[in-house]
Symmetry: C2
Subunit: 298 residues, 2 copies
């Protein structure tokens, strides 16, 4: 199992599970592709699919799924709590093994071109972005489906692929390349939300903190505590243990202690193994010493 | 890839690589079995093979390899630095995923029975041992090939399978079941070997330390420091982080510091992930949150 890419396409259908199954069917029983997970949220009216596989196979099947989504989902009648701009809303590619970011950007472009040919406007984002103001998905999606009929005609917002006008039924699609995101929350023994917010601010790149950390302060109502909730957008550069130690350090100023942490969802082994390496002071560790890594590489 | 067992058979041939290749050929290009590694040591005159796969396939191929070793290796002329008692010397089975220790013991018995039917005496060891004095491989192998012609006739040393007399050409074989062993060394900033030995003694189960830790003190000549060299024989019970913190604690008594550690060879992901969990205070972590774990489980 050599070249592996992850893709987490989001589709704007989370209520009609028959439609969802037809979209997800493209990823079932495919040689060279593993459907890791998919879930539908009726409030968001959105389904999130996680799949991993050989780049060419992932590309082919993702394109096919976007075609099916364009046929089944009608954005003119779509409602849901989650921000969205298209029937297939976002399609991020992430390198997993033996695949470079450059290859993921190439994949995003190839899928983008194919989707454009379906008559759907495509915006490339994150590492695949063609302009600085398209790096952040939130900036791209701003205005959402309803606002895009005008936004697409604004100077600087012409799509990277596809027609220069909105597709009413399918909307527009954001396709990107990014490193795996690690969601990591740290619980504080204070109910004071202001303290959690102040620490979060010090953690963020914009606040002078870690370069690849996004952080906010939150209440954890049921435990009467607060939390620094973080996304590590490049866990190979800003490390989990750095985020942990820096929150502890900043909390000291307020006489506040860290009472625990949470790793949310799926994370790559290396994000936690590197913490073990740090705390155990392991010299010259090589990730191929991990049995499971060797099994996957075979 | 659900049920997986590891097997590390050792064969008493490390010089004639044509013979080694014929033995190892049983493990190449086999569906459901991965040959992770094999190496031959001419001084030891011994080859060690590491393979992982589905229990039934591993069993079948290991039995076939033992038959080939019995044909190709003649113990009457074998010489080598490493202790040994048979052409196939030891065959340990280790649970990797979705396999219990009971199943590994069953595997050891099934392979033992088949090898016994080849006319080779078999001794079960470690978790598969049928008597207390057969748990340690060193106790079983004591006397080695040359001594076994008498030992096999001593009361209490009749084999678990096979003939009750020595096989001159193939010797005897030890077959066992055990958990993965984690080799973990901790470096101390003192050249005083007595301190390293004293700490090692406190670490060992026999010295009142951790129940599943074997430890010795060693010199690291090239760095003019010393080391507590440990085997964690059950890393799920006595944890890597416990061993690390306890060595640090004991070293304090001598004003000695830990300057680093080494993880030797291949280790299961969980042995280090559990250290990250401890140091990062992660709440409710589930190993299936690790991407690579999920890929392997699919």
């Amino acid at each position: 199992m050599a070249k592996l890419v992850e893709c987490v396409p989001n589709y704007s259908e989370g209520r009609d599970l028959e439609k969802v199954e037809k979209i997800v069917a493209h990823f079932k029983n495919v040689e060279g592709l593993t459907l890791l997970d998919y879930s539908s949220d009726p409030d968001h009216n959105r389904s999130v699919v996680t799949l991993i596989g050989e780049p060419e196979i992932v590309k082919e099947k993702v394109i096919a799924s976007i075609k099916t989504a364009a046929e089944l989902i009608d954005m003119t009648v779509h409602q849901g709590a989650h921000p969205r701009m298209g029937a297939t809303d976002v399609v991020p590619f992430t390198p997993v093994s033996d695949v470079t970011m450059a290859e993921c950007i190439e994949l995003a472009n190839e899928v983008g071109e194919a989707v454009g040919q379906m008559g759907i406007p495509v915006y490339l984002y994150e590492e695949a972005a063609t302009k600085a103001d398209r790096v952040n998905l939130a900036d791209v999606r701003k205005g959402q489906y309803e606002g895009f009929f005008d936004k697409i005609k604004e100077e600087g917002w012409e799509p990277d692929y596809g027609p220069k006008e909105m597709n009413p039924k399918s909307g527009a699609t954001a396709i990107g390349a990014r490193v795996t995101l690690v969601a990591f929350n740290i619980n504080l023994d204070t109910p004071d939300l202001e303290i959690a917010k102040a620490i979060a601010k010090k953690m963020r790149a914009k606040g002078g903190g870690l370069a690849y950390v996004k952080a906010i302060g939150l209440k954890v109502e049921k435990r009467n505590i607060t939390q620094v909730s973080m996304n590590l957008v490049n866990y190979q550069k800003s490390r989990v243990y750095q985020a942990f130690e820096m929150v502890k350090m900043e909390a000291k100023r307020y006489g506040v202690n860290v009472v625990g942490s949470e790793v949310i969802g799926t994370v790559p082994m290396e994000s936690l193994i590197s913490a073990a390496e740090y705390y155990l002071q392991i010299e010259d560790f090589d990730i191929t010493q991990i049995l499971e890594k060797r099994l996957l590489d075979k």
